[in-house]
Amino acid sequence: MLEIKNLHARIAEDETEILRGIDLTVKPGEVHAIMGPNGSGKSTLSYILAGKEDYEVTEGEILFNGENMLDMEPDERAAAGLFLAFQYPIEIPGVATMEFLKTAMNAQRKARGEDALSIPDFMKRVKEAAAHLNVSMDMLKRPLNVGFSGGEKKRAEILQMSLLEPKLCVLDETDSGLDIDALRVVSDGVNKLRSPNRAMIVITHYQRLLDHIVPDVVHVLSKGKIVKTGDKDLALELEKNGYADFIDAAA
């Protein structure tokens, strides 16, 4: 599904190198966790996957279902099935969450040559998905992310994800800001989306999320490189001993 080969990237503005040779292959049905210290480049990697302009790829390539993803615009990547749940979701004043959802869903459908959803069909889908994530009708009427609590923002991200039905989900610290109950609700929502033809990359600092969303593979990212890859037990090890062992090994 996703193949990242020797990816080097820097900040476009000041040419600071952030990613220094990342190799990562994610197959359909797999869930990969990416862990790593603050500032190691996890969010940067997710932005580069989504096509944010602030970064420049200097070397390497990214293939998404065999296609060169670096040639695609952000909206084309989205229509092709890439979804990024933002670490810091953005506020869109005056635009009701419901309206945003409809615009996004229909934009992707149009890009794929499908018809726009009928209003009843759309409403049915939203109500169903919102119920699973404990998102109230009231919240759907409010402008997207404006005045939402940290937890509400994260739930709104997962709501978008479940409605857009992406092929590859990238979740950037979706667990941060969630209380214990919300963590369970959101994890259940994510798990419901696990399927043999969908893959996920879960960026997190904490094992508690991985207790709910059990990963197939765990990577440790440090200073822009993957320094260790293992199975789910690697996360437990990190929780116990911290990153010191791996970072030193890489240095």
């Binding site: 989504a50 302009e53 909206d75 990024l84 869109i92 635009v95 419901m98 615009t103 934009a107 890009a111």
Partner: protein, 490 residues
């Protein structure tokens, strides 16, 4: 919400250069002589079979106009307009009283169809859903040629006709109210209009009557070189209510076209007038060439106690807009409202706003202005809120928000506040914002393209004003705003 999708389709189909309504209707026109003179005014007045007093009224305005200088305080600039190079009279050829739509020039009907005004459909729909009916007094160039729904309005006692007809049928009403809100010498353009106004709408809603449908006039400038000087007069008698919709489009041209309309509203005791405008005249091509000059005087007089006047405007067109719909809050407890969306792109120049003049006791006003500037345009909000000595407990709330798209445009807010009464409470809030790269990226990541993303964010920005518009105008407005911003990103 469905409007957003439609918007996108429309945006796709249109290039900045290919103004959608930029076509010229091929109907033979009868024109008067060029130039501004006593002769022109007499010719015009005679053509319209006006009573003697009207001719004199015009001539008086002309004499005063000849003593006046063009104002230059607005933040707009344009080459001098040669008033002697304009025609002051043009009428479609066959205007002699069509009794029904069937008698109307098919070319004309086709024009309206292109503009998306389904006159015929409206009549058919009429029998089905009376509440949603819109009566259209269609102004084609200078003379009203089609008026629908007249019978039904007559049953309710509502007079809705052209000013020319009102001068013939209801001269006393016209004489009583014309120029009573905007005096002949109010300002340069209003005085010009008083001398040579061509036609426009007249509405009188009698005491206690709630007008059974929304009244709508579509204006269209069609004759090359014909200055348009519309005159509209709306009177809501005691306890009456009326909602009036005005929408404009114009064909694409090279030469600039002048438009100097005057609109007067009078609300007596307990009456309410809601006046909504969607203005999308040709703004000029992508190099700023062509486009309409729009110098309008719109004023409402809350003459009676507990009266209310509300202006809602969506301004997307014109090369230059100079327009300040205002309210004189004369009656005690009267209320004035101004809701505005002004979009400028390309080389458009907008200087618009409102005046709320508090004269009576316990009067209140509300101003919500949303300016969106893109391209190399300039967008100025100019507003005055004033309280007279006797205006105890005057209240005003003003909110002016500007949204900038791109680096080369400008937004300015010029609020004037004058209070001669210590009990007045005036509140003013202003913000200026940009569509951030983060917002754009977020929307793109969800699959929208750049135009869809801008349309969505802008629709969010103007929502408070769109909500004030009647349904059919709300949808149209969202489309227009998006069309106007086409090509402003990327």
């Amino acid at each position: 919400m469905p409007a957003v999708q439609e918007t996108i389709d429309q945006v796709k189909a249109i290039d900045v250069d290919q103004y959608k309504y930029g076509f010229v209707t091929d109907i033979e026109s009868e024109k008067g002589a060029k130039g501004l003179s006593e002769e022109t005014v007499r010719f015009l007045s005679a053509k319209k079979n006006e009573p003697e007093w009207m001719t004199e009224w015009r001539l008086d305005a002309l004499r005063r106009f000849q003593q006046m200088d063009e104002p230059n305080w607005a933040r707009v600039s344009y080459p001098k307009i040669d008033l002697d190079d304009l025609y002051y009279w043009a009428a479609p050829k066959s205007v002699e009283g069509p009794k029904s739509l069937d008698e109307v020039d098919p070319e004309l009907l086709a024009t309206y169809e292109k503009l998306g005004i389904p006159l015929r459909e409206q009549e058919i729909l009429a029998g089905v859903e009376p509440k949603n009916r819109v009566a259209v007094d269609a102004v084609f160039d200078s003379v009203s040629v089609v008026t629908t729904f007249k019978d039904e309005l007559r049953k309710a006692g509502v007079i809705f006709c052209s000013i020319s007809e009102a001068l013939r049928e209801h001269p006393d009403l016209v004489k009583k109210y014309l120029g009573s809100v905007v005096p002949v010498t109010d300002n340069y353009y209003a005085t010009l209009n008083s001398a040579v106004f061509s036609d426009g709408s007249f509405v009188y809603v009698p005491e206690g009557v709630r007008c059974p449908m929304e009244l709508s006039t579509y204006f269209r400038i069609n004759e090359q070189n014909t200055g348009q000087f519309e005159r509209t007069l709306i009177i809501a008698d005691k306890g009456a209510y009326v909602s009036y919709l005005e929408g404009c489009t114009a064909p694409q041209r090279d030469e600039n076209q002048l438009h100097a309309a005057v609109v007067e509203l009078v609300a007596l005791d307990d009456a309410e007038i809601k006046y909504s405008t969607v203005q999308n005249w040709f703004p000029g091509d992508k190099n700023g060439k062509g486009g309409i000059y729009n110098f309008v005087t719109k004023r409402g007089d809350c003459r009676g106690k507990n009266s209310k006047i509300s202006w809602t405007q969506v301004e997307t067109g014109s090369a230059i807009t100079w327009k300040y719909p205002s309210c004189i809050l004369r009656g005690d407890n009267s209320r004035g409202e101004f809701y505005s969306i002004a979009v400028s792109n390309g080389y458009q120049q907008v200087d618009s706003g409102t005046k709320m003049i508090h004269l009576g006791k316990n009067t209140s006003s509300r101003i919500i202005s949303k300016g969106i500037s893109a391209g190399k345009s300039s967008n100025t909000y100019r507003g005055l809120v004033s309280a007279h000595r006797k205006a105890t407990n005057a209240r005003n709330f003003t909110q002016c928000d500007s949204l900038l798209i791109g680096q080369d445009c400008g937004a300015h807010t010029v609020p004037y506040i004058e209070s001669k009464n210590s009990t007045a409470q005036f509140e003013h809030e202003a913000t200026t914002s940009k569509i951030s790269d983060d917002q754009m990226f977020y929307c793109l990541q969800r699959g929208m393209n750049e135009e869809e993303a801008v349309a969505l964010i802008v629709n969010g920005f103007v929502k408070d004003v769109i909500q004030q518009l009647p349904m059919e105008f709300a949808v149209e407005s969202q489309k227009l705003i998006s069309i106007s911003l086409e090509g402003s990103v990327g």
